[in-house]
């Protein structure tokens, strides 16, 4: 008995000294960019090691080197002090590395259970796949995550948040000693995030190591043991989380100090921009009324699936309106299609900029001019020189890298892609802009720029409908907020008069019960 205890202690003290995984002097270049430049880090068993840095700092590239997606140009990867070469994702998996990618790796047409066991289906004695075991195993894994998703559901019928959770479940179900999580909470709500945090703690207590990549620094402080900061592909520092302050971390990430997280300016003018009366749609919006002033930011606060996006869709002509009235600058504005909305001066910055926003077959200028090509007409023809000039001036104005002028926008970071889309609506002279999760998955520096852009837009008389799951951001950046639940606006109030606590309580419908309180306590 005492020997066993001794051995365990011994084992622990050894494992505390020998890293489970280690990378030394990693270099990786892509055409035109040195993504990793002499980066080293070590990961110990049972630790949550956060990897932070701005977009393009090399976090994901480093993770992908460990996951076998990329092969470093130079440098060493060691597993339990042994040099290893990871040539592809299968080899990484054989070494016990499981990855949750930012981009989904699920197959949309298969069921949850089929996806989780993809490529390693258990075979019964008769030689066919043991579907009962697949379902049972899936249920067990989902239960660990406190998820109530049916294993037989087809993945594409799940919400984005649910898909993300299945993605996590899939990675966890693999026999692994290292779990790499790249922005695992980007699509999750508060409650799901809290479940994930609990799960991470449980995994580390089983001595698994976790590399946690996130832009949400509050999460990093909540869950990480140590932090490695990267900037421009270079290692900046590695430190225990207890030795770092938030402001310090931000400074190291972006290279300068941020005085204010939310530089809100109030630019509301007395005139009315949009008036929505008793709006009901086929897609679940039910008797919604509100108005927006010129230069105002109107926030729609609610949980995923509350109907906040559907309200925006109805205004933009995407969903069929059953009853109610909409006027824009005093004119009837019940649009039947986005092209009518665009013509009338409404623009949308969609939640998913990759699938709904960017044209990857276009360079920057064509992405910007697409919603107002008439501006480029000289006679019947588009003048490409004028387009190029506009492109240059907007790229400069929005502080987008000049490479966007020559190359496809797919090579831009998420934050810069977002700025290209905002530039598009600036160019089209939109007077009302719907911004759906404009800062999702972009880093602090770029977020700040988006906030400044919002200020600039409202100062020039553009009104904004802001949808965001980041409640502190929503409260700080909105002049007024409508709390949405079940397709209905429950309450409209000034942004600065409401606390995050109240907003969550109203939006989730739980009021101030224990669950909310616990979550809020955990978040602080």
């Amino acid at each position: 008995m005492s020997d066993l205890v001794k051995e365990q202690i011994m084992g622990e003290s050894i494992s505390a000294k020998v890293p489970l995984w280690e990378v030394r002097g990693i270099y990786k270049a892509f055409p035109g960019v040195q993504a990793l430049n002499d980066v080293s880090m070590s990961i110990f068993p049972g630790e949550v090691h956060a990897l932070v840095g701005e977009n393009g700092s090399g976090k994901s590239t480093l993770a992908k080197c460990l996951a076998g997606v990329h092969q470093p140009d130079n440098g060493q990867i060691l597993y339990q002090s042994q040099l290893v070469t990871i040539r592809n994702p299968l080899e990484a998996r054989a070494h016990g590395v499981a990855t949750i990618y930012q981009e989904f790796s699920l197959i949309p047409t298969l069921t949850v259970a089929e996806n989780i066991y993809l490529g390693r289906y258990p075979i019964s004695i008769t030689g066919v796949i043991d579907w009962a075991a697949v379902r049972q195993g899936t249920r067990t894994i989902l239960k660990q995550l406190s998820l109530t998703i049916d294993p037989d559901m087809v993945v594409k019928s799940l919400s984005v948040a649910e898909q993300q959770l299945v993605e996590i479940a899939k990675a966890i179900s693999m026999e692994s000693n290292l779990l790499i999580m790249d922005e695992p909470t980007a699509a999750l709500g508060i409650v799901e995030t809290e479940h994930l945090m609990e799960l991470i703690r449980r995994l580390t207590s089983q001595n698994k190591a976790i590399i946690y990549i996130s832009h949400r620094l509050d999460e990093v402080f909540q869950i990480a043991d140590r932090v490695t900061i990267l900037k421009d592909g270079k290692w900046v520092t590695t430190a225990p989380i207890s030795q770092l302050k938030m402001s310090e971390m931000v400074h190291k990430m972006i290279g300068f100090d941020i005085e204010q997280h939310y530089p809100k300016e109030r630019n509301t003018q007395p005139d009315t921009c949009l008036e929505v009366e008793n709006l009901t749609t086929e897609n679940g919006v039910n008797g919604v009324s509100f108005s927006i002033k010129v230069g105002e930011v109107f926030g729609l606060g609610g949980m995923l699936g509350s109907g906040r996006t559907e309200i925006a869709r109805a205004i933009y002509g995407l969903d069929k309106i059953v009853s109610g009235n909409i006027t824009l600058y005093g004119r009837p504005a019940k649009f039947h299609s986005p092209s009518q909305a665009v013509m009338a001066g409404v623009g949308m910055v969609p939640e998913n900029r990759k699938s709904d926003g960017c044209f990857f077959n276009f360079e920057g200028p064509k992405n910007i001019t697409i919603s107002r090509l008439k501006e480029l007409l000289r006679g019947p023809f588009l003048n490409l020189t004028i387009e190029r000039n506009y492109g240059e001036s907007y790229v400069k104005r929005m502080n987008i890298p000049a490479t966007a002028l020559e190359r496809s926008v797919q090579f831009l970071s998420g934050g810069n892609q977002q700025k290209v889309i905002v530039a598009r609506w600036l160019f089209s002279k939109a007077r009302l802009l719907i911004m759906d999760e404009p800062t999702q998955g972009i880093d602090i520096g770029a977020k700040l720029e988006v906030y400044n852009v919002i200020n600039e837009l409202t100062a020039s008389g553009i009104s904004i409908i802001l949808i965001s799951s980041d409640f502190p951001e929503l409260l700080a950046m909105s002049d007024r907020i409508g709390v949405v639940r079940d397709g209905h606006i429950l309450h409209i109030t000034d942004g600065h008069l409401m606390t995050e606590y109240q907003l969550i309580g109203m939006a989730s419908g739980v009021g101030m019960d224990d669950d909310t309180e616990r979550i809020l306590a955990g978040a602080q």
């Binding site: 986005p338 092209s339 276009f362």
Partner: protein, 327 residues
């Protein structure tokens, strides 16, 4: 040097290299290839494929596909023959009517695939069958020869010593390139193929763009049909069987992506030239038709493969021609 380096990274590089390669091989294999008479022949042979490939490229750019132009060509040659020879209509009126018919056939493809929401592959697979069936129906399955003495000069005529089809190709491709590069509907076609959802959200009438591509495809197929009828001074339900796939081949050799959004007129023209030179070269060498088909297939794989692998090769080539960037 910078221009050369830029060229190897541009989208026209792949098809241009393919074209250069087959032209070089053809001229090495037979000295007759480079003779003026033969080059003039090539320009005749390339004309129909090239013209039909204009429409094929537009449809592919929107992310669709058109399998029917070969059948449209057949139906056009037969209709033109009947209108002019059997019904005695003046040739210009006949030509106008069959061009109109091409537009209508394109509208049918377009309406079914956009508003009818049937995938364009299925729609045009069906109309490919229907249009050719109609050609057999109206001719009772027999070709109509010696349509009109006025028809042949449309194809065999010359202007300043150069065959007319050369001018048709140059003019139509210039118009096509102008349309794609410098008009709003042209730009919209790229946008729809590049990201349909984003196109819709930026206010582009997606269905209208798709319709336009199919209508133009119908029109260019009809022009191709008129050219073929003039070339052979006849109409037959068996004409143009290979044109549908050859026009798609020209577009993909030209680097058009079947997913939509990528491709250009100039690149397709190089693609069409590649197809024509392969055929012409093998004709000169008296290679049997079966081997011509096999060779064309191999060229398609090589050309598209070349383009796919160009990522690495192009970088290597452009590195050769690039001066070191100042640090």
């Amino acid at each position: 040097m910078e221009t050369i380096s830029k060229f190897f990274r541009s989208t026209v590089a792949g098809p241009f290299v393919a074209f250069l390669l087959v032209a070089t091989i053809a001229s090495l294999a037979t000295p007759r290839f480079l003779m003026v008479q033969n080059l003039s022949n090539v320009s005749l042979q390339v004309a129909t494929v090239a013209v039909v490939a204009i429409g094929a490229t537009l449809v592919i750019l929107t992310g669709g596909i058109d399998l029917s132009p070969g059948s449209t060509v057949a139906l056009v040659t037969c209709t033109l023959a009947i209108l002019v020879k059997n019904m005695g209509l003046p040739l210009p009126i006949g030509v106008l009517l069959v061009l109109l018919m091409g537009i209508i056939l394109g509208i049918i493809n377009g309406v079914l695939s956009t508003y009818g929401k049937i995938p364009s592959f299925i729609v045009t697979l069906a109309t490919m069958s229907i249009y050719r069936g109609l050609a057999f129906l109206i001719t009772n399955g027999t070709p109509i020869f010696s349509v009109s003495p006025a028809l042949e000069p449309l194809f065999y005529g010359k202007f300043i010593g150069i065959p007319l089809p050369f001018y048709y190709v140059v003019i139509l491709y210039s118009l096509g390139a102008l349309f794609l590069r410098n008009t709003i509907p042209g730009r919209a076609i790229y946008a729809v193929g590049g990201n349909e959802s984003a196109a819709r959200l930026t206010g582009i009438a997606v269905n209208r763009s798709r319709m336009m591509a199919f209508v133009i495809a119908g029109l260019t197929a009809a022009i191709g049909g008129v050219l073929l009828a003039a070339w052979l001074n006849s109409g037959s339900p068996n004409y143009g069987a290979e044109l549908g796939l050859q026009s798609i081949a020209a577009a993909v050799i030209g680097g058009a992506s079947l997913a939509g959004g990528y491709g250009s007129m100039i690149a397709t023209l190089f693609g069409a030239l590649t197809v024509a030179i392969v055929q012409n070269g093998l004709n000169l060498l008296a290679v049997p038709a079966s081997w011509q088909e096999i060779t064309l297939g191999i060229v398609i794989v090589l050309a598209v493969g070349l383009d796919m692998w160009r990522g690495e090769m192009g970088r290597g080539l452009s590195r050769l021609f690039r001066q070191p960037a100042p640090k």
